[in-house]
């Protein structure tokens, strides 16, 4: 018998937790983007696990679209990081505080 789905689900939960912790604590915008990628991959792993458990290809299709959206998000996000760096000479999110009241 193959490995039960719950093992992969717990692994995905741990991966999501590590990514969330990184987003909350790291201050470099680039590292935060990488941690968002980790969280997206944790969700992808959950989708694939349920696709296997329920023999439903729809889960894998959803992962396909999540990957497309993630690629678009990284492209625009890194463009924003480059644009911000040109003005501020820094990628630290702590220094981007003009909008506070």
């Amino acid at each position: 018998m193959t490995v039960p789905a719950s093992w992969y689900l717990v692994l995905a939960a741990v991966l999501f937790g590590i990514g969330a912790f990184g987003v909350l604590t790291r201050r470099s915008a680039l590292i935060m983007f990488m941690c968002i990628e980790l969280m997206l991959n944790a969700v992808n792993l959950t989708f694939v696990t349920f696709a296997r458990t329920m023999s439903d290809i729809g889960g894998q299709t959803t992962v396909f679209f999540v990957m497309v959206v993630a690629a678009a998000e990284v492209t625009v996000g890194l463009g924003i990081v480059v644009a911000v760096f040109r003005r501020r000479e820094s990628t630290s999110v702590d220094e981007l505080s003009e909008l506070q009241g």
């Binding site: 991966l15 694939v48 678009a72 492209t75």
Partner: protein, 219 residues
């Protein structure tokens, strides 16, 4: 104990994938150098690809390596090199008091809740979905066939929408990363105008010079 319940190769594949994923993910958030973080991200993504392969998602495993490890991480590395590697992460400086502690507590509570929820749930399994025509998930080339059938029939509209999304993302990235000329300091405007006329800009950053050179070549 597991040997009697689960097949040894499957357990080993899971353990390997879990090791890759956890090591890579921890590396992403621990490493000081962004380049090392990006390389750790590749490790985690390879682990996810192994987990995909072990669960009948062959096509997605290939896409994971090609798109994520091959394109997205390279894009990350390109931006890191472009902006210059800054190791200015001061672990001891904490702008928000208790931020790290609160983040750890929040993440732990959420993870414990999710895992408890999963442990107390019973998933429906063994039911064959109508989305695959009542057949089980296939492996290898069959997986590609099933996924292609699904994408190009059931989810055709979403697939077409992703084309528009990618075009918008590319245009947006070009617009964002382009240097805004009116945003320069005021005494630079005349110089910029002269550059548009075909002259050479005496001062400015190197990437600006490259951009204008490529534009001149294009025109």
């Amino acid at each position: 104990m597991f040997a009697t319940t689960y097949a040894i190769p499957d357990v080993l594949v899971f353990a390997g994938a879990a090791l890759l994923i956890i090591t890579g993910a921890l590396g992403v958030i621990v490493m000081k150098n962004p380049v090392h973080s990006a390389l750790s991200l590749i490790l985690a993504l390879l682990g996810v690809a192994v987990a995909f392969l072990a669960q009948n998602a062959d096509f997605l495993a290939a896409v994971e390596i090609i798109v994520y490890a091959g394109a997205i991480v390279v894009l990350f590395l390109f931006v890191i090199m472009f902006l210059g590697v800054d190791k200015s992460n001061h672990p001891h400086v904490e702008p928000l008091v208790g931020q790290r502690w609160l983040a750890a507590m929040g993440v732990l509570v959420t993870m414990a809740g999710v895992i408890t929820l999963m442990a107390s749930s019973h998933w429906v399994s063994g039911v064959l979905s109508s989305s695959t025509g009542g057949v089980a998930l296939a492996t290898g080339a069959g997986n590609v066939t099933q996924l292609g059938d699904s994408v190009f029939t059931t989810y055709l509209l979403s697939f077409e929408a992703t084309a528009g999304l990618l075009i918008i993302a590319v245009v947006g990235a070009v617009l964002l990363a382009r240097r805004e000329r009116p945003a320069d300091s005021d005494d630079d405007v005349d110089v910029t105008g002269r550059v548009d006329g075909g002259g050479e800009e005496p001062e400015g950053e190197w990437w600006v010079v490259n951009e204008q050179t490529s534009e001149e070549v294009d025109s």
